[in-house]
Symmetry: C2
Subunit: 236 residues, 2 copies
């Protein structure tokens, strides 16, 4: 391979301060989309020459990702994409269900008029994804829908934890939907509509109940997927 520039990039200019964000967003997407599967090593120098920047901004992005639990850093040694503890997902499910509940409830309590169109927008995106049987789009739009509800609840502590859980959920589901072309049923679309109605009506109790039921539905579906997969694993 000759050493001639294959891409003579005409605009290597980058706005000052955009470096870390660029690396952070890129790595985050690649991790959540499983382009970088759990356990993948992350090489700083390699990234540096790929993105044509120094190691400094890359390191800062890695520190942020480590803070969010998306990568693990071994001192003085390699850093790699965080693993998922498939043997015990209970803590994850527990936290997920509770955050579904509490964010839906708070949205019913605290939402403002301008929040509703945003939520409805994601709701329609999700319905479209179900219609076109696009499993990966379902995962993404479902997460966006519930994140928007959490925002309307206006509790930054819950929102940030919920975001982290939804991210982790994206990884988990993506890992399974890769091998098994499954899909969220139409039922979830209807449940989303009910949730929106409860929030709009400021019916706190209904929102709480629907959020909980919805979350448990999802958890149940995921666990069913797992059970089937585990059987297959054993069979192998």
């Amino acid at each position: 391979m000759t050493d001639i520039d294959t891409d003579n990039s005409p605009i290597p200019e980058r706005k000052r301060g955009s470096g870390v964000k660029m690396v952070y967003d890129l790595l985050r997407d690649e991790i959540l989309d499983l382009v970088l599967p759990p356990g993948s090593p992350i090489d700083e120098v390699q990234l540096a020459e790929r993105l044509k920047m120094s190691r400094t901004p890359i390191r800062e992005a890695l520190v942020r990702l480590a803070g969010e639990g998306l990568i693990d850093t071994l001192p003085n040694r390699s850093t790699m994409v965080a693993n998922i503890d498939f043997l015990n997902l209970n803590p994850f499910f527990d936290a997920l269900v509770l955050m579904y509940r509490v964010t839906t409830r708070l949205a019913a309590q605290n939402h403002r008029p301008e929040d509703l169109p945003i939520i409805r927008g994601f709701h329609e995106d999700y319905a479209a994804a179900v219609q076109s049987r696009d499993a990966l789009a379902m995962i993404a739009t479902n997460a966006a829908f519930h994140a928007a509800i959490a925002e309307a609840g206006r509790n930054p502590y819950f929102t940030s934890l919920f975001r982290r859980l939804l991210d982790e959920g994206r990884r988990i589901l993506r890992l399974y939907y890769q091998s098994y072309e499954e899909q969220f049923p139409q039922r979830f679309v209807d449940e989303h509509a009910e949730i929106i109605a409860a929030i709009t009506a400021r019916d706190v109790e209904a929102a709480d109940r629907l959020g909980k039921a919805h979350a448990e539905q999802i958890v149940e579906q995921v666990q069913k997927l797992f059970a089937r997969n585990n059987k297959l694993d054993i069979a192998l």
Copy 2:
């Protein structure tokens, strides 16, 4: 002032990799103890020469702290200690109460024998702090006590959020106990004892109930403090 070294430090050697952690721990303590009050500017170069290290490890520590919400970073401009929104502490209180409940409940469910001595240890520390009427020690040991309970609950998602809330609580209380020599009542010690009993007996419902009641007691006490303080503010 002459430029002669006032401290000719004989051991400027520092272990490799300990730099970031040192800065992180130092700043975190100073922020939580209000040595650096909310809004304080943080100067990288100043810190660098104070701790006699380069700006690089300091920046990484700052990125971590920003990730935990303890400092705010304005792009291309100064970074400062995060402010506290005293006008609306409700989101904080909501999250705090819920985490008190859920961690206590999970501790009753999931604790292991080796967790109990640790919890009891912090309980005794707290009792001692109440005995000696040391308000700041009460704040710290109370946080440690509940963090230990959260650890015993074995849900890292809840634990990390709870830790963040307890940290924030330390800042809030410290701000008030500075001006008003208040103290947590003996009642809290008794409640702690009840909580330990419920956890030990693996009585999940009782743990949940006690955790909730305890949390609401604390919130109420803090709100009382605030109300009094606000009256004084208006009077000024």
